[in-house]
C-alpha cells in the first residue's frame, strides 16, 4: 500500500485552521482546565462553524485549536476514513490549515473521530479528538442542566446505577450498547461519546490524550494519558463488550468491531471491519477473509 499522505496548500482567505487566534486561546484554556479535572465538562464559548451543529463542530474547534503546521491529521467517522462527513472534515482542515492528512492510524499526530476508537493502540505522542453530540451522561435521566451540574458536584450518580440495575432486572442485560457511561479517574461520570461499548476498554490507561468537544452543547472535557477509566457495572454483572460469531469477510479479523453489510433481500449479509485502516493493514500483511470474492 502506498501511504495516502498528502500536503495540500492552505487557503489564504482564512486564518490558520479557520478560527481566529483569540478564539483558539479561549478554547485552549478550556482544554487545559479539562485536562486538569479529568472527565469534568468545561463550558466554553463555542463558535458557529461553517459546518452544521451536530456534525462535529466541537471536535473541529478542538482540533483547530491544537493543530500546528507539523501535525498529521486523520479523520474517521464510524471507523472509516472515507465516510462522507470524515471526508468533509478532512478537506476542511486541508483547506484552512494546509496540514498533512493521513489514513494511517500510527502516522497521525491528531485523530478526530466520530463513534469509534481505532483498533490499533494509540501512543503518548498522539491526541484523539472525539466529536460529542450530548456530553452529559445523565441527560436521558435528567433533562435539566442545573440539576445535572449539581449531581456532578456531589458525585451523586445513584440515578445511573438505578437505571443500569433496572435494565438488568427487566431484560437480564444492561441495555446500553453505545455511549456507555464511564467513571473517569474515580470521580466524574463521563459520556464516552457514542462509541460502541466495545471501545470503552481502550479508553482506560490510553497513552494518547483524549479530548472531547461538544460544539452545540458548548462543552469540552478530557481524559489525560494513562488515566483510570472504568465502565460502570456490578460485581455480579461485570461489564462486557460485544462479540460476533463471524470474523471480517475481507481480512478475517476476529478481534475487531464489525459492521454488518446487507448483501441481498433474502436476509443475506456479511461482516467487515469498521476500522478501514486496520482492515487494509491486515490485507496488506497477507490475511484473508472467507467472504472476499
Amino acid at each position: 500500500m502506498t501511504a495516502p499522505r498528502t500536503s495540500p496548500s492552505q487557503d489564504d482567505g482564512y486564518n490558520f485552521a479557520y478560527l481566529d487566534e483569540q478564539t483558539k486561546r479561549m478554547i485552549r484554556r478550556a482544554i487545559l482546565k479539562a485536562v486538569a479535572v479529568p472527565g469534568h465538562q468545561v463550558p466554553f464559548g463555542s463558535r458557529e462553524m461553517p459546518l452544521p451543529y451536530g456534525w462535529g463542530t466541537g471536535g473541529i474547534q478542538v482540533t483547530a485549536s491544537i493543530i500546528g503546521l507539523k501535525d498529521v491529521l486523520k479523520v474517521i467517522d464510524q471507523g472509516a476514513d472515507d465516510t462522507t462527513n470524515a471526508v468533509s472534515i478532512r478537506r476542511f482542515f486541508a483547506k484552512t490549515a494546509g496540514v498533512a492528512t493521513t489514513e494511517k492510524t500510527d502516522e497521525a499526530t491528531i485523530i478526530q473521530t466520530r463513534h469509534r476508537i481505532p483498533e490499533m493502540g494509540l501512543g503518548d505522542d498522539q491526541i484523539i479528538v472525539y466529536q460529542v453530540p450530548i456530553p452529559e451522561p445523565l441527560r436521558w435521566l435528567e433533562p435539566r442542566e442545573t440539576e445535572t451540574r449539581k449531581m456532578h458536584g456531589l458525585a451523586d450518580y445513584g440515578v445511573m446505577h438505578v437505571k443500569l440495575y433496572e435494565d438488568i432486572a427487566k431484560y437480564g442485560h444492561i441495555e446500553t450498547s453505545y455511549d456507555y457511561p464511564v467513571l473517569v479517574n474515580d470521580r466524574y461520570l463521563t459520556a464516552p461519546s457514542p462509541i460502541p461499548k466495545f471501545d470503552n476498554p481502550k479508553m482506560h490507561g490510553m497513552g494518547a490524550l483524549q479530548l472531547f468537544g461538544a460544539g452545540r452543547e458548548k462543552r469540552i472535557y478530557a481524559i489525560p494519558p494513562f488515566t483510570r477509566v472504568a465502565s460502570l457495572d456490578f460485581e455480579d454483572h461485570p461489564f462486557e463488550v460485544q462479540a460476533w460469531d463471524q470474523s471480517c469477510a475481507i481480512c478475517g479479523a476476529d478481534d475487531s468491531y464489525l459492521d454488518e453489510v446487507i448483501t441481498d433481500d433474502q436476509g443475506g449479509s456479511m461482516f467487515v471491519c469498521s476500522d478501514t485502516d486496520y482492515c487494509q493493514r491486515r490485507v496488506a500483511a497477507g490475511h484473508k477473509g472467507a467472504g472476499d470474492a
Partner: protein, 366 residues
C-alpha cells in the same frame, strides 16, 4: 460481492455540482439578482438578518440566493460568516422613542399622542390571490399619501405614558447598573439566565418556535394576560463611542420592529399591583416575531415575578436551549450521518434479547 464504500470524495463533489445546477433552475429563465431579492423579498431578507444576527441586507439577499430560498439554511450561512467578523465596537443602546416611525399601533388606547399609524401592513388585506400580480410588467403602484413630516417627534412610547403614572413596572432594574450585557455568541449559556441573555436568545430565535410558544401561552400554558401596548416599526440610528473620540457618532440606520406587551400582574409580597412588561425587538419588519418574542419574554419572567413555573414557555432551559434553529437544524439533520456502528451494537443486543426471549418461551412450553 462486497461493494467498497470508497468514493465519498467524488460523491460529495458531484452532489454539490448537482445542487449548483438545481439552484440556477431552467437557464432560459433570467437569473435572480440580489437587488431583486433585497427589494422584493424584504420579509425573507429581514428574517434571515434577524435570526442570522447580522444586519446586512446585501449579504442576507446573497444567503437567500445561495440557499435557493431555504431561509433556515440562509440564516446558517449568515451566522457562519458573522462568526468570522472582528468586533470593532459595541453600540450604544438604540433609542426606539427616537425612531423614524413608519408604523405604530396601540391596542390599549383608542388614540394617543402621535396617533395610530397603520403603515405598510398585511393587516386588513383580504387574503385573495391577486392574479394581477401574475402578469408581470405592470406599472409601479401609485405612491401612497405621505404621513406628516413631524410624525416621529410626537410619538412617545405607550409604556412611557403608563410609567409616568407609575402603573407599569420601571424599565431599569436595580441590577442593570453595571451596563455589562451578556453575549451568548461569546460565552456559553448559563442558568439562571438574566433577562439580557434571554432577550438576546429570543431575538435570534427561530420565528416558528417563538410563534408556537407565544401561542401556547395564549391558550393557557402559562397564561400572562397580554395587551399589545404598542408595536412600532421604523428606522433607528445606531451609535458607537470610539475610544479616541469619547463621544457618540452615528454609524448608520437600521430598520427594527419593537413590541411592548403590557401584562396584568396582581402583585406579590414585595411588589404592588402594576402592569408588567414583555419586550420584543427584531431586525427589519418582523411583527409576528416581535409579538411572539414579547409574549415569551414575559413568560420567562415567571420566576423573577414569583409566578409558578408550569408551562414550557416559562421554562428557561427548555426555551433557550431549543430556540436556535441553526443548532436545532444541525442536530436534527445529523441523524442522516452514518450511525451504522451504533446501529450494529443495537442489532447485536436485540438479537441476544430475542434469543433469550425465545429460549424462555420454549422452556415454558415444555
Amino acid at each position: 460481492m462486497y461493494v467498497a464504500v470508497k468514493g465519498g470524495e467524488n460523491a460529495i463533489d458531484n452532489a454539490h455540482a448537482l445542487l449548483a445546477e438545481e439552484r440556477r433552475g431552467d437557464p432560459s429563465v433570467p437569473e435572480l439578482t440580489l437587488d431583486q431579492i433585497k427589494q422584493q423579498m424584504t420579509f425573507a431578507v429581514d428574517r434571515v438578518m434577524g435570526e442570522g444576527s447580522l444586519y446586512d441586507p446585501d449579504l442576507g439577499a446573497l444567503a437567500i440566493k445561495q440557499a435557493c430560498g431555504d431561509l433556515v439554511e440562509a440564516v446558517f450561512l449568515l451566522r457562519a460568516f458573522r462568526t468570522t467578523l472582528p468586533r470593532l465596537g459595541v453600540s450604544e443602546p438604540v433609542d426606539t422613542a427616537d425612531m423614524t416611525v413608519r408604523r405604530r399601533i396601540s391596542a390599549t388606547f383608542k388614540d394617543l399622542p402621535g396617533g395610530q399609524v397603520l403603515g405598510p401592513t398585511f393587516d386588513y388585506t383580504h387574503r385573495l390571490l391577486d392574479f394581477a400580480l401574475a402578469a408581470e410588467g405592470a406599472a409601479p403602484p401609485v405612491a401612497a399619501e405621505a404621513a406628516p413630516e413631524d410624525m416621529a417627534n410626537l410619538m412617545p412610547r405607550v409604556t412611557d405614558l403608563l410609567a409616568q403614572q407609575d402603573l407599569i413596572e420601571p424599565e431599569v432594574g436595580p441590577d442593570d447598573t453595571d451596563r455589562h450585557v451578556a453575549d451568548l455568541t461569546r460565552d456559553p449559556l448559563e442558568f439562571p439566565a438574566g433577562r439580557d441573555l434571554r432577550l438576546q436568545n429570543l431575538a435570534r430565535a427561530d420565528e416558528g418556535f417563538l410563534l408556537a410558544l407565544g401561542y401556547s401561552t395564549q391558550r393557557g400554558y402559562g397564561r400572562n394576560h397580554p395587551f399589545a401596548g404598542e408595536i412600532r416599526m421604523g428606522e433607528v440610528a445606531v451609535e458607537i463611542v470610539p475610544e479616541e473620540l469619547g463621544f457618540a457618532i452615528e454609524i448608520g440606520d437600521i430598520t427594527v420592529t419593537e413590541c411592548q406587551m403590557v401584562n396584568q400582574f396582581t402583585g406579590s409580597a414585595t411588589e404592588p399591583p402594576q402592569f408588567t412588561r414583555g419586550y420584543g425587538l427584531v431586525f427589519g419588519r418582523s411583527e409576528r416575531k416581535a409579538m411572539s418574542m414579547a409574549l415569551v419574554d414575559r413568560s420567562l419572567r415567571a420566576r423573577e415575578l414569583g409566578e409558578e413555573v408550569t408551562a414550557p414557555a416559562q421554562d428557561e432551559e427548555f426555551v433557550l436551549y431549543h430556540s436556535d434553529n441553526v443548532e436545532a437544524q444541525g442536530f436534527v439533520q445529523h441523524l442522516k450521518l452514518p450511525h451504522y456502528v451504533d446501529f450494529q451494537s443495537e442489532l447485536v443486543l436485540i438479537r441476544a434479547l430475542r434469543r433469550e426471549a425465545a429460549a424462555r418461551r420454549n422452556e415454558a412450553a415444555e
